[in-house]
């Protein structure tokens, strides 16, 4: 076996990891921005409850999240049953379920970073834009969103990195199926469980470190470019 060539098994796990993490981040980004908006700017009853719910996955054991997802979103779950009946969508034992699990776990990190960025946008600039004839939607798209961009990038990358590393909720909710739900951490777990596969586990460990490091570096570079554009 060539040390520097990835095996098919590793390629499959790596591709699945990236696919799950990317999809989870992209799908949850609009919700993350919406949630951050509500928490930073909203004034409504139950705001602290929403704040608590959003942050819950940060402090709950991942296995609890996986269990709750199984109960709620599984094929026979409280919500999952309807989703299957009405739309034919099922999360159980599929990569879509892995996406859901990692999205839930990574969500608080994303919301925190975006919320912080939003709180740093000066509402006085938004007022100025209104007096120049811009509707609230135009103000959001041309002033608020661009000024939040560094924070959105930071939040996205943090969430992406967390999604790549997710283990507990994924294995509980959608099990460990090679090619379907077996991301790098899960594949590594399988090797550790298997006697005599220490070398394979070590290789996956190196791959995990490399993609994590690479994504953090890209994040830093993007955020710096965005900050420069925003003029900080």
């Amino acid at each position: 076996m060539d040390t520097f060539t990835l095996t098919d098994y590793e390629v499959t796990a790596l591709q699945l990891s990236l696919k799950v993490a990317f999809t989870a981040v992209i799908v949850s980004l609009p919700a993350g921005i919406g949630c951050a908006w509500l928490l930073a700017r909203g004034r409504f009853w139950g705001k602290s409850l929403l704040d608590g719910l959003v942050h819950l996955p940060l402090v709950l054991p991942p296995v609890v999240i996986g269990y709750l997802l199984l109960v709620m979103m599984g094929r026979q779950g409280v919500i999952g049953a309807y989703l299957y009946d009405w739309f034919g969508i099922t999360f159980g034992f599929s990569w879509r379920g892995a996406v859901l699990a990692v999205a839930v776990v990574a969500f608080p990190l994303m919301v925190r970073a975006i919320r912080l960025a939003l709180e740093n946008v000066d509402p006085k600039l938004e007022q100025a834009a209104r007096t120049l004839g811009a509707s609230p939607v135009k103000v959001f798209l041309t002033i608020t969103l661009p000024l939040m961009l560094p924070g959105i990038l930071t939040g996205t990358v943090l969430a992406f990195a967390r999604a790549l590393g997710e283990f507990g909720a994924t294995i509980t909710f959608v099990s460990n199926i090679p090619g379907e739900t077996q991301t790098i951490p899960l594949a590594m777990f399988s090797f550790i469980e298997t006697p005599g596969a220490e070398a394979e586990a070590a290789r996956l460990c190196v791959i995990a470190i490399m993609i994590a490091l690479l994504s953090l570096m890209i994040a830093e570079w993007l955020a710096r470019a965005a900050r420069k554009r925003v003029g900080h």
């Binding site: 600039l125 100025a128 209104r130 811009a134 003029g231």
Partner: protein, 361 residues
């Protein structure tokens, strides 16, 4: 005409306004800090909502709480220049200038405004690299380019240091001459107001205590508390009649056969200029002086005599000349010795006249 009638509770102060303002010219909103000036124009702009009230610009109703009308700021066509410029940091100067254009820039207006404010060399720069005065000029241009029906300016000079103020002032003066829309100019600086405004509203603790042409409000007793004895003055709007053939002097006309000589004004005959005459620079005499160094000796009628509110050593006399009123400070001793009475015909000797609106030509 701009009709404003509203109330709003601001902490301890109750802002209570009922005003009719002209639909052109620079309208100064004057008052000390905390008088409600900024809240006043925020309500006009739509950024804040009155507790109840009616605001209309001509036929265009901007706000009427009884009919449930409250147009959002973007629908009011009112430009706003904030004290702190508020340029968008992620747009270039040009991007900022065009923001209010909805993607339909008017090249003619654009070059006119850029020229008026002298910002053509800044267009590609970002706001972070501009000085305070430059930022404020861009902010003014940005508001003008949104083609507003009215312009609000909230102390545009207040956050600048003195050299920057002096740098920006000429731009404001040329703006004042060139705009056709009404400008509500909030300020607590009488100097700025004298140089720019035509009309003046005085706010004190949320109430309007003075409203009218600047020269009238200035001549009324409303302004007394704001002026020290040294600053007590009359402001007159006068017509240029002729220039002296051999001396650098210009003759202004206070009334028929009432010439006032001031240092040379570079304006053609017929133009109006604003002058300020300090009350300490006027003395009075019963007999027309002869062979005096003072050039301006004019017949006046005493219209009022009253001791100064805060200074026991000053008697303020109001002197009618033509259609104008001059204020003079004299000592109580002089007032007693001359036995001044309302209706007396006197001669006012005017030692100094300052021009409060610079000739820009």
């Amino acid at each position: 005409m701009l009709a404003l009638n509203f109330v709003k509770q601001l902490g301890q102060t109750r802002l209570d306004v009922d005003l009719r303002l002209p639909a052109s010219g620079i309208i100064a909103i004057f008052g000390r800090s905390g008088a409600g000036k900024t809240s006043f124009i925020n309500i006009v702009s739509g950024l804040s909502k009155p507790d109840e009230g009616h605001i209309a610009f001509g036929e265009h109703v901007l706000c009427d709480t009884w009919q449930g009308i409250h147009l959002p700021p973007e629908k009011r066509r009112i430009g706003y220049v904030f004290q702190d410029a508020r340029l968008f940091p992620h747009y270039t100067v040009k991007g900022n200038l065009l923001y209010g254009n909805h993607g339909k820039p008017d090249p003619e207006l654009f070059s006119e405004v850029v020229q008026l404010l002298d910002i053509s060399h800044l267009l590609t720069r970002y706001p972070a690299s501009l000085s305070g005065g430059e930022k404020q000029r861009v902010a003014i241009g940005r508001a003008l380019l949104s083609k507003p029906d009215m312009l609000l300016m909230d102390e545009p000079l207040a956050s600048l240091d003195l050299p920057r103020k002096q740098e920006l002032m000429p731009y404001l003066e040329s703006l004042a001459k060139s705009v056709s829309i009404p400008v509500l100019y909030v300020s607590h600086s009488l100097d700025e107001i004298l140089r720019l405004a035509d009309h003046m509203v005085v706010l004190d603790q949320g109430k309007v205590i003075g409203n009218g042409a600047l020269t009238d409000v200035w001549a009324s007793s409303v302004m007394r508390p704001w002026l020290s004895a040294r600053e007590q003055s009359s402001v007159l709007q006068l017509k240029v009649t002729e220039h002296h053939p051999s001396y650098p002097l210009t003759q202004l006309c206070i009334g028929p056969d009432l010439p006032l000589w001031v240092s040379r004004v570079r304006r053609p005959a017929g133009d109006m200029v604003r002058v300020r005459i300090h009350a300490n620079d006027i003395s009075v005499t019963r007999i027309k002086p002869v062979q005096t160094s003072i050039r301006n000796v004019l017949p006046v009628t005493v219209e009022g005599i009253e001791p100064h509110q805060y200074h026991a050593d000053i008697v303020v006399i109001r002197l009618a000349i033509g259609t104008s009123i001059l204020t003079a400070n004299i000592t109580p001793w002089a007032a007693d010795e001359l036995n001044l009475q309302v209706g007396d015909k006197l001669y006012a000797q005017i030692k100094g006249v300052s021009l409060s609106q610079q000739d820009l030509a």
